[in-house]
């Protein structure tokens, strides 16, 4: 407890009196004058401070200001000598004003009881306030007082609340008389000074709002209200400024304004029709979309109006009734499609939701409606439905569990089942048994999220037949649905199959054609070969005809010569001299000429080959017999090695004899001084090199070799030995036809003949014949016969 001011003895008596009432005081201090510097030295703030009015009004103010700021829990009681001014002190936070006379004697007890009770009440009030303020988080306002003398401010007192609002203590303001001015936001200073000037001029204005810079640098908004104190003369001697921190309020207001703008922008930018109406169906809120739809210039034009102001009466009536139902039933109307007409008179479909609007107490005060123009959607939907109904393709929606959920009428047309039949059972039951596995696999892929294109399977029709369907399908994983379209490709399939078959046939025919072509080629080759043979035969025939003509013409003279020679020989048989020898030579010459003519006929004429299957041995034997004389004449040894085991050959005996005779004669002519002539025949399995193409591989052949020890054949002659009329023999000894005839006869027998040299000397002729072959000459028979 502290007493400030007043006489020391007075306050000593008060102390004694109080101690006599309540016992010793826990704390007592008396200061003759206000000494703020002394106060803080006290270890604890006092709970009660007596302020003796003798210290003067100014000191009182300072004291009260300090106490409010520093010791807010201290209750202040003013003691004064005369009554009056109590209300003002009370307004400044003093809890009681006591007359000095009440501080002594028996009154002291009553005074103390009253002060104690009041201080208790004040403290509780203070505690509550403090708690509230703590809860609010800040002290929102404070008061400052400006003392004015002669129209000028002379002192300023800031209440302790200034600390919370501005961050500065009352002492800071006391120490710096211009702090309050600096504290004001630079931009707002003119406004504040203007307000101050108006106060000083005696005409205070309304509260102003301005910014201050808090000690921590933050900007705060305050409302500054002024209360003017005038003396009895009506002059202003002081004014109070009430500073109220409105930063939060302003922030809230601004936020609210922002929110309003936000919401407004939001609903105005929505294409949906949003409006609110009151109980009489008058617009209280509407967005731009509504205004546009209804033909109003802006949302504001709708406010207070009803649908009757915009729509035809019956339509407006219908809306009105709808709204009435919502308002009276208090039940929302959700996603109801309603017909409407836009400002151009075009019919529109609106899907709207209307909900009752309630006030804080829950009573219905109107309705809110959100609507959407679904005209395009409905049109698209309707078109989709039309297409769904009209398309020839099979459209379906199926679930992941294997059932159709929706099918278009094409299904009925195509398969013959009704849609309810198709929806009735899992679709796999309609799939061809051979296609079910593949179909299940595709369904699984779809369930896994794959898109399936160009899948084919067969579906059973009501009549038991099957149709080929070509599918495109895609799944919707969220819905667990499969959307699929199928096309009946049965006809295409069968066309494809036919095509395939036709193609196959074509390919088959092509190969047959190729084969035929190949056969034709072979035939052509064969024909060509035959033709060559025929041409050769033709040549021979011409030669034969010529030869036959010549023969007749030549042979008659020969006959004359021969006969003549013989006549002469008969007559001159005994004549001496060379006549007999001359005639003999002439006779031989005639025979030789005859031989040449005959050879020519033989060579040139076409022949009947008269083959017979026979052994080779006797033919060679016979031929060697025909050359027996020349062999002996030329002292040539003849050897024959022809095994009897050789297969029989199909041979024209006479012609083969001629072959051997011709070869033998050539050999003999090549050995004028004697030698050896050998004939060897062997069965062989392999045609010799160069002839391997002329005989079937692996066929049995008979090789007949005629070997001599003669002069051999020169290289240049080897190539020509088979040419007709080629001869190396002296004139008169060879016709040049011997080996040509040999080759021709062997060829007619289907065989081949080769001539070569032997080492160290001699020539060899090899003849190859197939056993029991069909003589080729039969096929080129020219039927040439000579008349005789």
């Amino acid at each position: 407890m502290i007493a400030v001011g007043g006489a020391a003895d007075f306050w000593a008596r008060v102390k004694d009196g109080l101690e006599s009432l309540d016992g010793p005081l826990a704390q007592w201090e008396h200061a003759a004058a206000w000494r703020p510097d002394a106060m803080p030295r006290m270890r604890e703030p006092a709970d009660l401070v007596w302020l003796d009015a003798q210290i003067g009004a100014a000191a009182m103010e300072v004291s009260i200001g300090w106490l409010e700021s520093e010791w807010p829990l201290a209750a202040m009681v003013v003691v004064q000598d005369a009554p009056g001014g109590g209300v003002e002190w009370m307004a400044r936070g003093v809890i009681d004003v006591i007359l000095r006379s009440r501080m002594a004697g028996a009154s002291l007890g009553e005074t103390w009881d009253m002060v104690s009770a009041r201080a208790g009440a004040w403290r509780r009030l203070r505690d509550n306030l403090a708690r509230t303020q703590r809860q609010l988080g800040a002290i929102a306002d404070y008061v400052f007082t400006v003392i004015i003398e002669a129209g000028r401010p002379v002192a300023t007192y800031h209440a302790p609340g200034c600390l919370a609002v501005t961050g500065y203590t009352p002492s800071d303001y006391s120490a710096d008389p211009f702090l309050w001015h600096r504290m004001i936001h630079e931009e707002d200073r003119p406004q504040v000074l203007d307000a101050v000037n108006r106060v000083l001029a005696g005409a205070p204005g309304p509260p102003i709002e301005h910014r201050i810079i808090h000690r921590d640098g933050s900007v705060r908004w305050v409302r500054n209200s002024t209360l003017v104190h005038r003396n009895a003369a009506g002059q202003i001697h002081a004014y109070d400024g009430l500073i109220k921190d409105i930063t939060e309020d302003r922030a809230k207001t601004e936020a609210l304004a922002r929110e309003r703008i936000l919401l407004r922008t939001l609903i105005d930018s929505m294409p949906d029709f949003i409006y609110a109406k009151d109980m009489s169906s008058r617009f209280i809120v509407a967005n731009r979309a509504v205004a546009r739809h209804m033909g109003a210039l802006g949302p504001d034009q709708l406010l207070g109006k009803t649908d009757f102001d915009f729509y035809a009466a019956d339509l407006a009536r219908q809306y009105f009734e709808d709204e009435r139902r919502v308002l009276s039933s208090a039940q929302p109307l959700i996603s109801q499609e309603e017909f409407s007409v836009d400002v151009h008179g075009s019919p529109r479909w609106i899907s709207s939701t209307k909900v009752p609007l309630r006030d804080a107490s829950g009573s219905v005060t109107g309705l809110i409606s959100v609507g959407r123009d679904v005209t395009e959607e409905r049109r698209a939907q309707r078109q989709l439905e039309q297409f769904f109904r009209l398309t020839l393709d099979l459209l379906s929606v199926a679930n992941f569990e294997g059932r159709f959920l929706r099918l278009n009428p094409a299904w009925e047309e195509t398969l013959g089942y009704s849609r309810s039949e198709l929806l009735d059972q899992p679709y796999i039951g309609f799939v061809h048994p051979s296609d079910q596995e593949a179909t299940r696999a595709v369904a699984e892929r779809l369930s896994a999220g794959d898109v399936v294109v160009t899948f084919e399977n067969r579906y059973r029709c009501r009549d038991g037949s099957y149709k080929w369907l070509l599918w495109n399908a895609c799944p919707s994983l969220a819905e667990r649905l499969i959307y699929a379209t199928a096309r009946d490709i049965t006809e295409r399939k069968s066309a494809e199959a036919e095509l395939q078959q036709a193609y196959g046939e074509l390919a088959h025919r092509e190969s047959a054609l190729r084969q035929a072509l190949e056969e034709l080629r072979q035939t052509h080759r064969a024909l060509k070969a035959s033709q060559l043979v025929l041409i050769q035969a033709e040549k021979m025939e011409s030669l034969g005809t010529l030869a036959a003509g010549i023969a007749h013409e030549v042979k008659n003279p020969l006959q004359i010569l021969l006969t003549g020679v013989q006549v002469l020989q008969g007559q001159l048989a005994a004549a001496p001299g060379p006549a007999a020898q001359v005639l003999q030579d002439m006779r031989e010459a005639v025979h030789r000429a005859d031989g040449i003519v005959r050879m020519l006929l033989n060579y040139a004429s076409a022949h009947h080959l008269e083959p017979q299957v026979q052994p080779l041995g006797p033919i060679i034997e016979n031929a060697s017999g025909l050359v027996k004389y020349p062999l002996q004449q030329h002292r040539v040894d003849f050897e024959k090695d022809v095994p009897e085991s050789l297969p029989d050959l199909s041979l024209d005996r006479a012609k083969m004899e001629q072959v051997f005779v011709n070869i033998f004669m050539n050999a003999i002519d090549a050995m004028p001084d004697g030698g050896r002539l050998a004939v060897k025949a062997r069965a062989v399995r392999e045609a010799p090199e160069g002839l391997d193409r002329e005989f079937p591989p692996g066929a049995e052949l008979v090789q007949i070799s005629i070997l001599d020890t003669g002069s051999g054949i020169s290289e240049e002659c080897l190539a020509k030995v088979f040419d007709p009329f080629f001869t190396t023999k002296p004139v008169g000894q060879g016709t040049g036809l011997g080996l040509s005839v040999v080759r021709q006869i062997i060829t007619w027998h289907g065989g081949h003949v080769r001539i070569g040299n032997r080492l160290p000397r001699g020539a060899r002729v090899d003849i190859y014949l197939s056993p029991a072959h069909r003589p080729s000459v039969e096929r080129i028979e020219t039927h040439q016969e000579y008349s005789i």
């Binding site: 013409e553 042979k555 021969l562 008969g570 006929l601 033989n602 000579y786």
Partner: protein, 133 residues
């Protein structure tokens, strides 16, 4: 002395027939008459009554075959044997057929006197056989 066989030679080649007559008659066994016109052969055969007729095949006018045919008709199967002498057939051909073509003996020109004589002897009957009949 045995009567010489009468041989009629019909051939258009006069030099040949002259020489054949010379050489055949030179053997001393034959009496030879020559006819160079084939058309005259029939009259000659009738007049001469040969034991054998040596007939050329290719002749102007009637050929040998034709002459042979007419001889046969004229004689009614009693004609003299015919040997054809030809330059057109090959000796090998004739040999292959045993010297016979169409039932007639054939000789290919040029033919040796020995061969001709053999052939005549082989096919002619004893002398005068035809003449007697």
């Amino acid at each position: 002395m045995k009567r010489r066989k009468r041989i009629l030679i019909v051939d258009d080649e006069a030099s040949l027939t002259r020489l054949l007559k010379l050489s055949l008659e030179g053997t001393g066994h034959y009496e030879v008459r020559v006819e160079n016109e084939s058309a005259a052969a029939l009259g000659a055969a009738q007049e001469f009554r040969p034991d054998l007729i040596l007939l050329d095949v290719l002749m102007p006018g009637l050929d040998g075959g034709e002459v042979c045919h007419q001889l046969e008709r004229q004689a009614g199967g009693q004609k003299a044997p015919v040997v054809f002498l030809t330059a057109a057939a090959k000796k090998e051909e004739i040999d292959k057929r045993g010297g016979m073509i169409g039932g007639y003996p054939f000789l290919a020109k040029p033919v040796d006197l020995e061969e001709l004589v053999q052939c005549i002897e082989k096919h002619s009957p004893a002398p005068g056989q035809w003449g007697r009949i």
